[in-house]
Symmetry: C2
Subunit: 514 residues, 2 copies
């Protein structure tokens, strides 16, 4: 066969002999296989093999086959991966995180088994043998060195573990990824299973503790597929007003903490979830007086790039470089300089409790709902439908120096209050939530008992249109609850959610609903 | 004044000049003070000053005073501490854990603010300034060296932090504690605040990383109170049948894991909560074929002593030596040998996420209730009343190699099912619970999606008398729930708890309750 344009990225002679098309490679994945794919957001997800596999599955199942796979990744991926495979009903078991609308629909219809895991736990569970056997790895890389080592792509995720643990490996070599990626990665090979583990030798976010390349047993590589495609990441959205208000509250709070000696003047390493609010917070920090900041996080989005470009952010560590198309252009224009200040690492390291606690991160993550006592739901809608998953939020929140959760106070045009009497699902317990922020205000819950937390959350965070009904609930719980550590009326605690399901709004009717 | 019999335990000349009675010392604690006391269980809790303080509070408040204190400890303490101070309504704010019946009653009546914290978080929150100022430390030690360093008592808890952070220090020197304690402690002074933290240099449970003594600024010591009293720990209860069944399931499971290569033959370091079930599990391990085990845990109870004496357990690390009176006699009889195999450390180290994850603990903790999806409630009764608190269970469960939660399947003579449709409070999320055990059986939840978890928990763990109603709930949720990731009927999810409050039993009536 002819060698496509990415031939200069495939410098190992043995692996050049295994170059084939995505269709040919997909033929090598058997029905029922468990497949570990690269991708942490759309960054670094394989671009060709998953779609070829989806076509193969569709063809076989149209002829009465039962072709489905188990799919493991770093985190969410892309429409060409999760979307394509879900569309053909090709995924039987999915972990550890996903955000694809088609897959979500199937999960919530009970058609796909979805295991929602802390992202720092995934790699080790695989080494421990807790999740079963990994048959095939499908990993995008940006190049192959003459000795067979792999230049990682725009994300690292669980790729090291997939390459180590899978019986067979399919590599996508994406010549569309910038050559500047070479040298930006830090792959730590010092991990082990207990009782042989050692301290991870990192003291600061930009410490290099590993190697720039992924190791790979060439005997396991069954296919090398050249590709040339950009990560499918969406454009940067303009910041909305609520997000900017949330950001302003957080910047004020951080300034207050510095003034009181509880944070250094250049803060502590920033961890920031993805999305609009996170980007608004980063924009707020870019306007602030803080200097010489660092980031230790999962995903570098455009907001982090802004901070790197302005010089406010000295360095950033992550497991994925997930820039918008416009952000990517900006990165490439200054790649020589920026690549010195960015490190991409395996997600077991970017999210490692040991490092998060040692370096003392400021963790900022989004929530779906919080209750008046500060229990946070990050995963479920109305207690039963998955939205995305817990992702790394638990790794960070539990072990951070400061654990901040943030959300607009309402959703669905005001029909949902994001502060509810009782969370319909709990992902972050009252023990793990220090600060709660909405556009209405910020509640600093440190050192407060549950009833005190409730008063503060109601005063600071609840949308005015829900303040009376939620105060009413709390006041009646203070009178009617059997226990007063966490006062609740059990017959009403989830009634806001039920009312939303029944009426399309959590708002109590003017006269009580039947 | 005359120097009592503990004079040979107080070898520092300066501190000998500060010897006084408990009453005199208690006079030095001002109303409204925040007081950090020693004690992790009754082990190492001060014996005299808290009671003298309680008498002072009672006297002052009887004359119209408003004397209350904030009370911080290691964990639960004793009737002479929490009990005595609660009886006179002397505690305004309590953290991070307690289990006293009088204090519990006041907390649940809304008369005491109780902040329930992960035990590994407490010391650092104090250094960070997150919990406010510490005025006075009241710490039991078993002796004072000529240079003023302190020989710790039967627990270490947060004593290092209280001594470092408090403005003033009151020492109780308990001559009733065995001299063999000298040298058994390992106080690590390498901790710091971010960004100056370093890896904690421990690789195995018995590694010594610190010093045997507590440091103390002599200028801060305002009183030295000699005492001579045993820790008030209760007798060892005979093992009940349910606990033995739970233990047998766990031993079987561990053997199975060894056979499948997922655990070494001598297991990994054991962490065990306190109480009957924990002691039964340890007794089961003592009867098992496992050899050369280690423990890395919070509290050494008699069950661990049995394992040390039999030689099955090579060594044990903890923050408290909480033996029954009979166990204490056994310990003293073999102290010369046993003390070489036990290390007592600060709770920030015994419970440190970095060490728990690195050493790969097998964490075994009790639960109050779990729901069919494996969310665990460790703290609340019927969603509103605190039982004790989360203690160290979150530190261990989240970071362990294996996270096992255990409970009898029913409580209150069968009127409560410990497996419920939805947990009424969540302390350990679905993401943190790998194995659930009752006397009925063991559910290995690793790698299962929520609906699969529910089926297994119902089949393996639920008491037969609740199996039909809980299956009925689950089956109807599979039909009626909007989302099928975690099927629930929101109007019924907490109805078992409400029924218990209404009727004294979670059991559905033969005909549906009104």
């Amino acid at each position: 066969m002819t060698i496509p344009s990415s031939a200069d990225r495939i410098l190992n002679d043995v692996l050049r002999t295994r170059i084939m098309s995505a269709e040919q490679a997909a033929e090598l994945i058997p029905a029922g296989a468990t497949v570990g794919m690269s991708g942490f957001t759309a960054a670094g997800a394989p671009k060709a093999v998953p779609q070829a596999l989806a076509r193969r599955i569709e063809r076989i199942n149209a002829q009465g086959g039962q072709f489905r796979i188990g799919l493991w990744t770093g985190a969410s991926t892309s429409p060409e991966l999760d979307g394509a495979l879900a569309k053909v009903h090709g995924i039987d078991r999915r972990l550890p995180y996903q955000s694809d609308p088609v897959a979500r629909q199937q999960i919530n219809a009970g058609e796909m088994n979805y295991i929602d895991l802390h992202l720092s736990h995934v790699a080790q569970y695989v080494w421990f043998g807790f999740l079963g056997h990994l048959d095939v790895a499908v990993v995008e890389v940006s190049g192959i060195l003459p000795d067979g080592r792999l230049i990682p792509s725009t994300s690292v995720g669980n790729n090291k573990t997939w390459l180590d643990q899978a019986d067979a490996i399919i590599l996508e070599v994406n010549a569309g990824q910038p050559a500047a990626l070479d040298g930006m990665h830090d792959i730590y090979y010092g991990t082990d299973r207990p009782p042989n583990r050692k301290p991870i030798p990192m003291l600061h976010p930009h410490d290099r503790i590993g190697e720039p390349y992924l190791r790979c047993d060439l005997n396991k590589v069954i296919a090398v597929v050249p590709t040339h495609a950009a990560d499918k990441l969406s454009a940067y959205k303009p910041l909305d007003e609520d997000s900017q208000r949330i950001a302003a509250h957080i910047v004020d709070f951080l300034e207050h903490e510095v003034q009181h000696g509880r944070l250094p003047r250049n803060l502590l390493p920033l961890q920031s979830g993805v999305g609009n609010i996170a980007n608004a917070v980063l924009a707020g920090l870019n306007q602030s007086a803080f200097e010489d900041m660092t980031a230790y996080t999962e995903v570098l989005q455009d907001g982090m790039l802004d901070l790197l470009e302005s010089g406010k952010l000295r360095s950033a560590s992550a497991t994925a470089l997930a820039l918008s198309p416009e952000g990517f252009k900006r990165f490439e224009a200054r790649a020589d300089e920026l690549r010195q200040r960015i490190l991409l690492r395996p997600q077991e390291i970017s999210n490692h409790p040991e490092l998060i606690r040692r370096m003392g991160l400021i963790a900022m993550n989004a929530l779906i709902e919080a209750d008046i006592y500060g229990n946070v739901n990050s995963t479920h809608l109305m207690g039963t439908s998955i939205m995305n998953g817990i992702g790394g939020s638990g790794d960070y929140a539990r072990n951070a120096y400061l654990s901040i959760f943030m959300s607009p106070s309402t959703a669905k045009g005001g029909q949902i209050s994001c502060i509810v009497p009782m969370a319909s699902h709990v992902d972050h317990t009252e023990h793990d939530v220090q600060v709660l922020v909405t556009e209405q205000g910020l509640a600093d819950l440190r050192g407060l008992a549950p009833r005190q937390r409730a008063k503060l959350i109601i005063a600071k965070c609840v949308h005015p249109s829900y303040r009376d009904p939620i105060s009413d609930y709390f006041e009646r719980a203070l009178k009617g609850s059997v226990g007063q550590q966490t006062p609740h009326l059990l017959t009403e605690a989830l009634s806001w959610h039920q009312r939303y399901l029944d009426t399309g709004s959590m708002r109590p009717a003017a006269s009580p609903a039947a």
